[in-house]
Symmetry: C2
């Protein structure tokens, strides 16, 4: 059991000392993440963010140096959460002797959990992650690295344990897995929100485990 509390379900708490200031910052994060996910960074105004957070505009600038800085901190904060959650899922499986393949499967589940819990945050990453020439480009590089590395590590261990062929291309496979879960989950949220997470997870597992092509399940 981890120590983090889910709070309101929109954006999680920080390392969370309980000062008044932190509460304000959290409210601002919550407001910003949904607005920016919907409208994009540039068409979201600071006045809107302040209003949705129930705070005066001056307060935004008392807490963050600029709109850009607010956004960067949001990005960093969010990715830390995802990486931690993926890592925890993988560790939990391997610690009790599960295979690396099982760990991968657990990470897929953790990814789906994350996306369904913080859809706005996810949309926001997708929208920004492959852009170039933006102020927070370098922040995003770090952020991406942090998440992908977790997946790559498990893949690498799996190859070492001979659970996976040593022919696989680790970085590329990690990206592909990431994309598979990401896009499937976003489509799920946008177009079939009624389906259960187990359902979606099962479909992705099947695809990954190669039970899709070849009808191999019918063999003896």
């Amino acid at each position: 059991m981890s120590t983090h509390t889910p709070e309101s379900g929109t954006i999680p708490s920080m390392d969370s000392s309980n000062t008044r200031r932190d509460a304000t910052r959290r409210k601002l994060f919550e407001a910003a993440v949904t607005l920016i996910a919907e409208q994009g960074f540039s068409s979201t105004t600071v006045d809107e963010i302040a209003e949705r957070a129930g705070v005066a505009k001056g307060t935004v600038y008392y807490n963050f140096a600029s709109k850009n800085v607010l956004f960067e901190e949001l990005l960093r904060h969010g990715i830390e959460l995802l990486a931690t959650s993926l890592q925890a899922a993988a560790d939990e499986v391997t610690d009790r002797g599960g295979s690396r393949i099982d760990a991968l499967d657990a990470m897929i589940r953790a990814g789906l959990d994350f996306i369904s819990r913080y859809p706005a945050l996810t949309q926001l990453y997708v929208a920004e992650l492959w852009r170039t020439n933006r102020a927070w480009q370098s922040t995003l590089m770090v952020v991406r690295e942090r998440a992908i590395t977790v997946v790559e590590n498990v893949l690498r261990e799996a190859v070492e344990q001979e659970e996976l062929s040593e022919e696989i291309d680790i970085p590329l496979t990690a990206s592909a897995l990431f994309g598979m879960v990401l896009v499937a989950a976003l489509d799920w949220q946008s177009y079939q929100p009624d389906r259960s997470i187990d359902d979606v997870h099962a479909a992705l597992s099947r695809l990954l485990q190669g039970r899709v092509s070849g009808r191999s399940a019918e063999g003896p």
Copy 2:
């Protein structure tokens, strides 16, 4: 052999009567697609687009009713190209008696080709496709539908031909495949642009065909 000419390699020609006006519109598309991919829609100004296209601002409004309309036409134009190219790849394989699995593989290749030829266009779709509350939402729904349907059809035929398990979830698998190719390709372009397309294609094929997990090649 199709009749379309690749033009400059940034954005393809339309059905293209060769009037002066069409040439201008094409220049504007080219300029807009790269700028918007880099900076996003809202932070790209009409002045920038005009300048990069080498025309006056008024010309933009002579050719398009508004900045929004310019963008919508860009989206529609681009997706038509992708859908056509995927369909052509699939047809080409099945017409000469290849399996549906081979057709899927050909579509992956076509997807990679497309993304490497029009990276800016691709970035732009990714950034906008899962946003809500935007002016061109309905356009995007249509656009998405158009591309995903092509993949779903091949999957459905594959199930009918008993090349794929009837247990698979067709819409979700289509999304997942789409995402796999998309994210892998974007990462390839952004972070390892030197790798050959064959290399990337091979890695994705391996993942899809289930040759990744289980080391099945070693079995007795």
